[in-house]
Subunit: 460 residues, 2 copies
């Protein structure tokens, strides 16, 4: 048998043990946005260091101003070629907890009527299951060939779900150590359950919290209603004014730097088997709600958005309380494309808010991350090599696709480390990654491991 075949066979034989390892990682409630879970985030990181060390990596827990970074190196492969793998071990919050049908941090395998299996847990898909596909691929190589086919460095972050505040300082402080020939990022999805994909275009992100303060305390609306300013009313106006009737964002300069989709990409997208009805239908929707003059795939991959992710003010318990609240707040995020500048857009948003602030309201802004969009250089030979490896494993042609989400680290790799990134992942659209009942297909986990086994060989 070939070395590749040996490694693939080992990956198959290891599957049950690999699942046990993944379950151990999933049991840590490593919610990075919640200070109450800081200890759990740290414990997940330590577990990963031990895991990598036991494989033979030089692995360390590296402190940052926030949650620690896991860094590991395997050096000495022939050829001297080196890849840097990135993943994250923190997870999204789990609320509303009542909507979970099982404990989000007690992973389990569920079997569907058709016999297919899935892994149910918070983080199963985003991103613990995905990052473990790569670690298990390294294991299969190490256990059969004694080493991965290329040198491998690994950087696993614990703050991806909270805006990655420590990521760029860490990269800047450890430039020489981290620089490699290529970055591999496993935090994206397949095109569909049959079609593997390499994501070559990603939207950026600007997150901002707007907190309005009105009266010095909650007021009785009977006693003060009329003359007293109501912060919810002010907030509703501010948010309503952010889009026009065609779904375009009204902030001045918002569309500066937004490019047209290049004709060859548009042509490739047109050939994809994409149905807006099916895509929206899966989540109970029918009518595309974005910019009216844009096709749905453009709305999703190539156009910027401004979304309201949370809003809160006044009495929200059972029943009714006729209160005029002292405060109201909203979490707003913009997905960015092309050369849109997240800092300029944050300033435009703040100016929009201030311009609509009545005399008796004050505003507090809280930054929640800023990253530019990125476009990968898919012309590099590594991209075609990886595409071949994916096509071999899934017995279906792999696609170069756009991505609606933001994976800022790809842009940082380009800017700080001068290194291209290849985004490959095995998540599916229905993985519910930021919702209750997150899952990861067992098939994604198994064939994901096998895919990385093949890709590592092709990159050598």
């Amino acid at each position: 048998m070939s070395r590749l075949q040996d490694a693939l066979t080992r990956a198959d034989a290891n599957l049950d043990a690999a699942l046990e390892r993944l379950f151990a990682l999933l049991r840590f409630p490593s919610i990075s946005t919640d200070p109450a879970h800081a200890g759990d985030v740290n414990a997940a990181a330590s577990w990963l260091v031990d895991e990598l060390a036991s494989l033979g990596f030089a692995a360390e827990l590296r402190p940052t101003a926030g949650h620690p970074m896991v860094v590991a190196h395997w050096r000495g492969a022939p050829g001297g070629r080196r890849v840097l793998f990135y993943g994250h071990y923190d997870v999204q919050p789990v609320d509303p907890l009542s909507e979970w049908r099982s404990d989000p941090f007690e992973p389990r395998i569920e079997t569907r009527d058709d016999g297919s299996k899935l892994i149910r847990a918070r983080g199963a898909s985003d991103d613990k299951g995905q990052l473990m596909t790569f670690l298990e691929a390294c294991r299969a190589w190490i256990e059969t060939a004694g080493a991965p086919p290329v040198d491998v460095s690994i950087m696993l972050e614990g703050e991806e779900e909270s805006g990655s505040p420590s990521l760029t300082p860490f990269m800047e402080a450890n430039r020489d150590e981290l620089k490699a020939d290529l970055a591999l990022i496993c935090d994206t999805g397949m095109w569909d359950a049959r079609t593997p994909a390499i994501t070559t275009m990603l939207r950026g992100l600007m997150g901002e919290e707007i907190i309005l303060h009105g009266p010095s305390r909650d007021l009785h609306s009977g006693m003060y209603g009329g003359p007293a300013i109501n912060p919810i009313r002010v907030l509703a106006r501010i948010l309503a004014d952010l889009h026009d009737e065609n779904g375009r964002v009204t902030l001045p300069g918002f569309y500066d730097g937004v490019p047209e989709v290049p004709p060859e990409i548009a042509a490739q997208w047109a050939r994809l088997d994409f149905s807006a009805e099916r895509f929206l239908g899966e989540v109970g929707l029918r009518a595309p709600a974005g910019e009216k003059d844009q096709p749905v795939l453009n709305q999703l991959w190539a156009r910027p958005t401004c979304e309201f992710n949370g809003i809160l003010g006044g009495y929200v318990g059972e029943g009714f309380k006729t209160v005029i609240p002292a405060r109201a707040s909203a979490k707003v995020s913009c997905r960015l494309v092309g050369d849109q500048d997240p800092h300029a857009i944050r300033e435009a948003l703040r100016a929009h808010v201030r311009a609509r602030l009545p005399e008796d309201c004050t505003v507090e802004f809280v930054e929640h991350g800023a990253s530019r969009a990125s476009v990968m250089n898919a012309a590099l030979p590594a991209f075609e090599a990886a595409r071949q490896a994916l096509s071999d494993e899934w017995e279906n042609e792999a696609a170069f696709i756009g991505g609606g989400g933001s994976i800022p680290v790809a842009g940082h790799f380009q800017r700080i480390l001068g290194m291209e990134s290849m985004l490959i992942g095995f998540a599916l659209d229905d993985d519910a990654i930021h919702s209750p009942n997150e899952k990861y297909e067992l098939r994604s986990f198994h064939k994901g491991i096998r895919s990385w086994v093949r890709i590592l060989e092709r990159l050598a």
Copy 2:
């Protein structure tokens, strides 16, 4: 000494014991909107029945479809004249609990630097402290003269803070039993700390909850942002469109039945020592936010409003979660005046919402009460008699004033029982009745008892 003087002296001597009785009532967390507190609501009602029975009233706990009604009668006074006293023993929720400086259900006396004292607890002012002023006045008369100067019936409700769903069915079912010559309602305030008042004009209320449903589950805004409808965005537009730039409500027909303030009332209001700066300044505000062409007292007492009492959608915890929520909701209430019809206005609000609903959103409406505005017949001799009694007790001319809040029971008494109501209470604007740290002045409690002692005598 006169009979009146005897009763007043007894009221003074009873004060410490009266406070103990009030504290016992305040310790029940009788939050009527919260099903978890149903047992506490019931316990408060039973306590009041025992209290009234021990005074010699024929007192009963009367079941309704919701929380029970406390009904008590004292019959046999010479002259056969009878008053019906109304109060409520349920209280507002206490959230945010973290803003209370002491346990809301462990009442205590606090002393200010100037020596004045206050009673701190949820319900101290709204309405347990107020209703106990009347019960203690009855006690002073019964303990000195053997009976109140007029026959007294008492009806204490347990659902006032949750829209009074059982109130009108109960009145309709017990018309003959409840009908009296005059209703007395103790759920309003003084004009200021020196000036007692009889409220002769009250705004009505229409409460409605709007729940919008969009996608079938919370979505990742990176994966779906753009094409997927965002219910928060739809809700912001709906709320923002409810007022124009002059602070007027835009619902068609909203101002139908809104009268001009009669010149004589406007003249009386102009003579009141009212300062918009002071009124708003107490709660940290400066600029009146109601209809631009209306004086502040009109905004407060004579003009209708549409307020947003609560809003909720998406991720509202710490940090950030880039979710497109499955739902968003708002609690909206309108204060009504003149002949405004709460049912017509509810329909206009629902039509306003439906007209702004995109194809992919559905709406659910939840009713939270409807009452028309009411204007009392202040020309009745009882009003002037009570005004004299109040002026005597407070050694300052009592005023006939308007009220911004809604006390639907006054309208029901007119409509169902054909009976006028006199609204007299001793709350102050800074009692924080629907907010954390509610209080009632000890002076309001003491002089409130004495005021009712005098009013009962004047009504005989």
